[in-house]
Amino acid sequence: MNTAAPTPSNTAAVAPASKIAVALRGVSIGYNGVPVVEDIDLEIFAGEILFIGGGSGCGKTTLLSSLNTLRPPISGSIKIDGIEIVGADQETLQSVRRRFGMMYQLGALFGGMTLLDNVRLPLEEFTDLDRASMDEVARAKLGLVGLGEHALKQPSEISGGMQKRAAIARALALDPQIIFLDEPSAGLDPVTSADLDALIVALNHMLGTTFVIISHELASIFAIGHRFAMLDGARKRLVALGPPAELRDHSPDEWVRRFLSRVPSSET
């Protein structure tokens, strides 16, 4: 399925459909061998903004844990940038981990470190840059997310929205081509949430970064999502994939239409 065309009303960039950033084949995820969602086939194109959503407990975050290499799936194949991560050795996983950035729901900035230290940490660990250069790169990343003047503050000294932007700056530290975001809008007011959406679109435009976003924030999904992939915990499968507005209006699946139209389950 192709992504949305670039129009003034749709600020997101067009994803070139040719290159596949992440590919899932027959992936089953779950806990202790018990699947929550089975047989997921999904191709995420380089440069697109893909939202993954579904009802509470449908396996969204578990799927993200498999994509970011922390929890192997029960079965199936996951390729990031063409590299298979299921069953891969530590060396391969380490190499893949440098190809993506990750923003956690709570930001997960390291307390006791300034924002600059937080962003500089991956550079210290994985590059041979001198300290001055690392500082400049880290400051640039903080500048990109609008936190240049807060570089020397601790995470506890800034707001929740700023913490999430700082977490995105840290995710950008090693210039990854893919960024995974877990519930970026959670706990944010609508304006801050919209600001974060604008930042994601801007980074997508400027850097061509692929964004894979776990969220059920409909406003964000419709505003910036090229495609929406929907998981259903009851049927244990991926039930929809496509442009959000198209799914909301024309999906053959009633649950998908209701979800994207925010219709209560008691309404028939």
Partner: protein, 376 residues
């Protein structure tokens, strides 16, 4: 059969027919009346329900979100005894209230074991998981230590120095106080018994040997468990709860190298020094008692020198280092094993302190026997 129960101000009538049981409350069904109505219904419900239970709310007055608990009780009773449940005599709004309250209320019937079998199973699994974690953690520690030997740049030197300051320098006042007092207490307790044999000055021997070989390292390690073991567990546990450990892993940074090693190295380096300091003050504390009985510092120190051997001093240092290794490893492991939720960090902290102190005492017993056997 008909039974009427008067429960002011609400009454309930229970009628048994071939179609089933009909329960009809008359009056308000609220949080104030529910308990009485429910217990009356429970008492009066016949043993044989028939095919259904009908709750008739036509004559009930106010029904609030607690009063609807009667419907939940009857629904669950009906389901668990193979009958159906129906609620009649309700307005549309009240129907919604009842329907919402009944959602997901089916009694859980499953074949999972209960009671002792379940408890034994859970405990066994917990012990198994702990054993696996201990083995894995020990392996990781060795692996990371070897990696750091060949690639020292991987050690977070600044974090290690910070940890040394926090867990070493900052512990000096409390270690000093306890060392001094323990030395004085030992001298107090042994002065009279030894006086009977005319061996007052030998109190210095007792103080020196017990403090340097045993109590100096022991009290230092127990303070370490209380101050630092708990802090390690709380710091790392909080990082786990706030997903910072996941963030490290997705960066490809090993939390054992990044978080555990600086703390363990700091603990192992500073604890022997603290132990020596505690021992020095303990010996000084012992003199407080002998000094009060007219012995000079020179006499006391000369006896201390006779009592102390290089072997005894080294024994104290080795014990302190091993205790530090155990306490810091247990504290960090407790932090890494922290579960989810707000109470998890507290549980990990308690576990770190208790397990740390138990490990210290066990290790002390083993080391004591070992040093005795080899004659140090």
């Amino acid at each position: 059969m008909s039974a009427s129960k008067s429960i002011p101000p609400t009454t309930v009538t229970i009628t048994s027919t071939p179609e089933g049981v009909r329960v009809e409350p008359v009056g308000d069904l609220t949080i104030a009346t529910l308990a009485a109505v429910r217990s009356a219904v429970e008492r009066e419900l016949p043993a044989k329900l028939g095919p259904s239970i009908t709750l008739d709310l036509a004559k009930s007055g106010e029904v609030d979100a607690s009063g609807v608990g009667l419907a939940v009780f009857l629904y669950r009773t009906a389901k668990s005894r193979g009958a159906s449940f129906v609620c009649v005599g309700v307005t549309a709004d009240r129907r919604v209230l009842v329907d919402l309250a009944l959602r997901g209320q089916d009694p859980q019937i499953h074949g999972a074991p209960t009671g002792l079998v379940r408890e034994v199973g859970i405990a066994s699994l917990a012990i198994y998981e702990l054993a696996v974690d201990l083995v894995r953690f020990s392996g990781e520690l060795v692996l990371v230590a070897v990696q750091l030997v060949f690639k020292p740049r991987g050690l977070r030197v600044r974090d290690t120095l910070n940890a040394m300051a926090r867990h070493g320098t900052d512990a000096v006042p409390v270690v000093s106080l306890l060392g001094l007092l323990i030395g004085a207490i030992i001298a107090f307790q042994t002065f009279d018994p030894l006086s009977k044999y005319g061996a007052k000055l030998q109190v210095a021997d007792v103080v020196a040997i017990s403090i340097v070989r045993e109590l100096g390292p022991l009290i230092t390690a127990i303070i370490l468990a209380g101050r630092s073991g708990s802090a390690f567990a709380a710091e790392i546990g909080t990082m786990k709860v706030t997903q910072e450990l996941d963030a490290l892993r997705t960066f490809g940074i090993d939390p054992v190298r990044f978080l555990v090693m600086p703390r363990m190295i700091a603990a192992v380096l500073v604890t022997p020094l603290l132990s020596v300091w505690a021992s020095m003050l303990g010996v000084a504390g012992g003199y407080a008692v002998l000094g009060a009985h007219g012995f000079t510092v020179a006499q006391y120190m000369s006896e201390v020198k006779v009592a102390l051997t290089v072997g005894g001093f080294v024994q104290g240092l080795i014990k302190a280092a091993i205790f530090a290794l155990l306490v810091s490893a247990i504290g960090c492991l407790a932090g890494l094993r922290t579960g989810q939720g707000p109470g998890a960090v507290g549980v990990s902290t308690t576990r770190a302190v208790v397990a740390g102190i138990v490990a210290i005492i066990l290790a002390d017993s083993v080391l004591g026997a070992f040093f005795y056997t080899i004659g140090i």
